[in-house]
Subunit: 236 residues, 2 copies
Amino acid sequence: MLKYQQIAEEMERYIEDHGLKQGSKLPVIEALMKQYGVSKSTIIKTLELLEKKGIIFQVRGSGIFVRRQNRKGYISLLSNQGFKKDLEDYVLTSKIIELEVRKPTEEVSINLNMDLNEDVYYVKRIRYINGQTLCLEESWYNKSIITYLNKEIVSESIFHYITEGLGLKVGFSDVYLQVDKLNEEEAAFLGLEKDAPKLLVESIFHLTNGQPFDFSKVTYNYQQSQFFIQANSHFF
Amino acid sequence: MLKYQQIAEEMERYIEDHGLKQGSKLPVIEALMKQYGVSKSTIIKTLELLEKKGIIFQVRGSGIFVRRQNRKGYISLLSNQGFKKDLEDYVLTSKIIELEVRKPTEEVSINLNMDLNEDVYYVKRIRYINGQTLCLEESWYNKSIITYLNKEIVSESIFHYITEGLGLKVGFSDVYLQVDKLNEEEAAFLGLEKDAPKLLVESIFHLTNGQPFDFSKVTYNYQQSQFFIQANSHFF
């Protein structure tokens, strides 16, 4: 981890630990330089990262302020830290339904940009929040990139394993959302009635070199589906 | 518009017009400097902006590549350009149900950080896509910031009016998603049966100085609800 990333983590933890609210003013750049004993350019990089992550916002000529979402119990839709950070007060568990090496379907091969005769790891699991079903998750991993998975890995955060265990760098993801009704199989897995609402989230994760390695389809229990996203100015 | 933003728009249009696919390699920085007659730092700013917007990705030591979502008919959930850019082949219309100045409810006053005795513009409209209901939209605008609205403005893109007409700068937004069942009133407006699935998207838009000015609740017709989001590495 680089110095500016480390400082960003420290500042994030400080905001968290002190329960600073949206709009709280943070020290000016010069004070931060002093505090962390680093150059101006390092602090500027730190602040850019925190801004991208939606932790702060900067107002020219006025200062640096805390940015926070104010609602409890919402899951960050785009961060993939195994939900843990946003749901610290909740108990999350997984049940593995399937884990095997297979050939991709056409849909999977298109989304992972693979040939039909290459291998993928297929993982199907149910995730629980405080004992209630949160989602049914199916994922396909390009086996030439994610070379090894087992039950123990898959029962924890697969993302943590990919970044820490395999040392891969995740670059970006494309996320597709769709609302629909549960079919019979999904309803059974989630313990809901057929035709109940569902949120289907399809994600394609790419390495920093642009190669897709993970295609996943997650069907959420609508009773547990509260998400937040933070958007920055470049979207407007 | 600053030079780097202008070049970013030109490059985005170029990618669009030439139908470049995900992974297409773009010219190197030196070639772009020559092509646009600008400094290296300007091109770097351009590329940073395009990367944030999910138009390109950069691979260190390898080059600059096109990033694109590959599915048709999905609405960008976070961009607020009146859907137009993503749904060029579709006809979008609005029907205004209500437009009036009122006092905020407690929920609205919390989300807009206003007193209960201040004024808000309340706008309720139905939006149609190719003649079918897309969503039911309720918005509350802080009247001390959005000082004037009328039927003509509200029947078009309100965001365009806010940024171009009023010259306000939008900084960031917090977006909350929830899946649920339609109540009777919503079902009637959307032309669906009660208890059909719905996606509720609540957004709070802030100016660059952090002040919230728009709180909106949009209930989507699940039959028309396909969204995409592009996420960058800082989320992982």
